[in-house]
C-alpha cells in the first residue's frame, strides 16, 4: 500500500506485520552517534535540533553522492544498536523507525505501548533505495559526516512492516513459518 508522511495514529493503526508499503514524504536519518547526542540532550532537558514528535527515523549512514546526485547509496544499518536510545525517543513522540534486524523485547513492547511502528528496508539494497530519495539535506551534527542527521524526502520508498501496534514481529512470524527445526 502507499502511505504518506506524517504517519498519523489512524494510518499506523492499519499497519500489520508483513505489510509491504511504499512511503512518500519526509524522514530523518540518524544512527549511533546522532542517537547518543540526542539522548544526552534529552537527559539534560535541553532542546533537540529536530522535532521528534510524529517523526520517522531511518537508521542509515549514506555513502557520498556522486556529482549531480541527491545522495549516495543509502540502505539501512542494523537497528538493535539503537535499542538503548529508542525508549527516550518514543517517549518524545517518535512514530516510526526504519532499519534492519530484530529489536529487543523491550522495544517491541514499547512500540505497541506507544502506538508506533518498526519498518524494515532491504539491507544491502543501498543503490536501489537511493533512487527513491528525492531530496536530502543535513539538518544537525554536520561534523558527524555520514552519521549527521539528514532530512530526506522520499518517494515510494519500499518498506516492510516488522513490528506493529498489535505486538506482532514479522521476523518471528517468518522464521516460525519456514523453520524445519523441531522443538
Amino acid at each position: 500500500m502507499n502511505l504518506e508522511t506524517p504517519l498519523t495514529e489512524n494510518k499506523i493503526n492499519k499497519l500489520k506485520a508483513g505489510d509491504k508499503i511504499y512511503l512518500s514524504g519526509y524522514l530523518y536519518t540518524a544512527r549511533d552517534q546522532a542517537h547518543k547526542k540526542l539522548c544526552e540532550l534529552i537527559e539534560n532537558n535541553e532542546e533537540l535540533p529536530i522535532n521528534i514528535e510524529n517523526a520517522i527515523i531511518y537508521y542509515t549512514g549514506p555513502a557520498p553522492a556522486r556529482p549531480g546526485r541527491v545522495i549516495g547509496p543509502c540502505g539501512p544499518t542494523t537497528s538493535y544498536r539503537m535499542d538503548k536510545y529508542t525508549p527516550a525517543l518514543l517517549k518524545m513522540g517518535l512514530k516510526a523507525m526504519i532499519g534492519k534486524g530484530q529489536r529487543s523485547k523491550r522495544i517491541v513492547d514499547l512500540i505497541k505501548e506507544n502506538k508506533a511502528v518498526y519498518l524494515a528496508a532491504t539491507g544491502g539494497a543501498a543503490a536501489l533505495l537511493s533512487k527513491r530519495i528525492i531530496d536530502s539535506k543535513v539538518v544537525a551534527y554536520p561534523k558527524l559526516d555520514t552519521e549527521a542527521i539528514r532530512l530526506l524526502k522520499v518517494s515510494d520508498f519500499p518498506l516492510v512492516v516488522i513490528n506493529d501496534i498489535y505486538g506482532n514481529d514479522l521476523y518471528d512470524m517468518g522464521k516460525n513459518k519456514y523453520s524445519e527445526i523441531s522443538g
Partner: protein
C-alpha cells in the same frame, strides 16, 4: 629480483577497491539467481530479486552496492623474488585513500575505538602479509561490512567435541545474527589452530574459492543444510535460503584445543583478487 614501485601498487589497489564495491562477482550473482528459484517465501523471493536489481544498478552507475563500504581487509602474498620500492603498508593505504575518494565510497573507519574520530579516508586497512616463493605479488581484498562482522563469534571447544556440537554452535551464531547481518549469509568458518588463528582462518575462508578436501566439503554442505532449516530466510523475513555458502578452513592444533571461529558475511560479499 623483480622490482615493483609502491605507486603501481597504490594505483592497482585504488582501482580494485572501487571495482569490488561496484560489482558483485558472477559466482555470487549466480548463487542469488539460484536462490530465487529455491526460495519458497514470496517476501524472501522479492528480497533476492531486489538484491540482483541493486547489483545491476551499482554496476551500471558505478555506485556502491551497499552504503557500508566496509573496512578493507587485505591478504597479501609476496614472492621472495619481489622487491618493493617504498613501504608496502603505506602503498596499500594510499591506494585505499585514493580509491575511496574517487569512488564516492563511504569512509567508515575511526582512528581510535574510544574517541571515534573518523580518519576521513577509510584507512588503515587490516593487512596480512604472507611470504611465498617466486616473483608473484597477489592481493586478495575483502570489503567487510560491520553488520555481519558484529555477529561473528568464536568458541574454544574441548578437543573431544563432536561435529554435532560444532554445528550447534554455528546454528546458534546464525540464530543470534537473525535478520541483523543481512541474510542470506556467506559463512566463513575457521577450525583449529589457536584462538587468533581460528579467527583469521574464518576471515580467510570467506575468500576461499573451492574445497579440495572431500570430507570438509561434505561437512560444509551439512552445515549449509542445517542453517537453511532455521527459517530465517532472505532479509530475515522468513524463508528457505538463510545462507548461500559455507566455507571452512582448518589448521593443526594443540591436544587440548579445538577453537572454532564463525565469521559471517552478508549477501553482498564484496571481494577481488589482483596480481601485479
Amino acid at each position: 629480483m623483480r622490482e615493483i614501485d609502491g605507486e603501481i601498487i597504490s594505483k592497482n589497489i585504488s582501482q580494485a577497491v572501487q571495482n569490488a564495491n561496484f560489482s558483485l562477482d558472477l559466482k555470487l550473482l549466480n548463487m542469488l539467481e539460484d536462490a530465487v528459484k529455491k526460495e519458497q517465501s514470496l517476501l524472501g523471493k522479492n528480497i533476492l530479486k531486489s538484491l540482483i536489481k541493486n547489483a545491476q544498478i551499482a554496476e551500471q552507475e558505478k555506485i556502491a552496492i551497499c552504503q557500508d563500504t566496509g573496512i578493507v581487509v587485505i591478504f597479501i602474498k609476496i614472492g621472495n623474488q619481489i622487491q618493493i620500492q617504498g613501504d608496502l603498508y603505506k602503498a596499500v593505504n594510499r591506494g585505499i585513500k585514493v580509491g575511496y575518494n574517487k569512488g564516492y565510497l563511504r569512509k567508515s573507519v575511526v582512528k581510535d575505538p574510544f574517541n571515534r574520530e573518523n580518519t576521513q579516508d577509510n584507512t588503515p586497512a587490516i593487512i596480512y602479509i604472507e611470504n611465498v616463493l617466486g616473483d608473484s605479488l597477489e592481493f586478495n581484498i575483502l570489503i567487510k561490512g560491520a553488520g555481519s562482522e558484529n555477529m561473528s563469534r568464536i568458541n574454544m571447544f574441548n578437543p573431544t567435541a563432536s561435529k554435532d556440537e560444532i554445528i550447534d554452535f554455528i546454528i546458534d551464531t546464525v540464530q543470534r545474527a537473525g535478520a541483523s547481518a543481512c541474510p542470506p549469509y556467506i559463512m566463513g568458518i575457521g577450525i583449529g589452530g589457536t584462538f587468533e588463528k581460528a579467527a583469521l582462518l574464518s576471515k580467510k575462508a570467506l575468500l576461499k574459492e573451492k574445497t579440495e578436501d572431500p570430507s570438509i566439503r561434505i561437512f560444509e554442505k551439512r552445515i549449509l543444510k542445517e542453517i537453511n532449516k532455521t527459517g530465517i530466510g532472505p532479509g530475515g523475513l522468513g524463508g528457505k535460503v538463510t545462507a548461500l555458502d559455507v566455507r571452512i578452513l582448518k589448521h593443526s592444533c594443540h591436544i587440548a584445543s579445538l577453537p572454532v571461529a564463525v565469521n559471517i558475511n552478508c549477501h553482498a560479499s564484496r571481494h577481488i583478487k589482483i596480481s601485479i
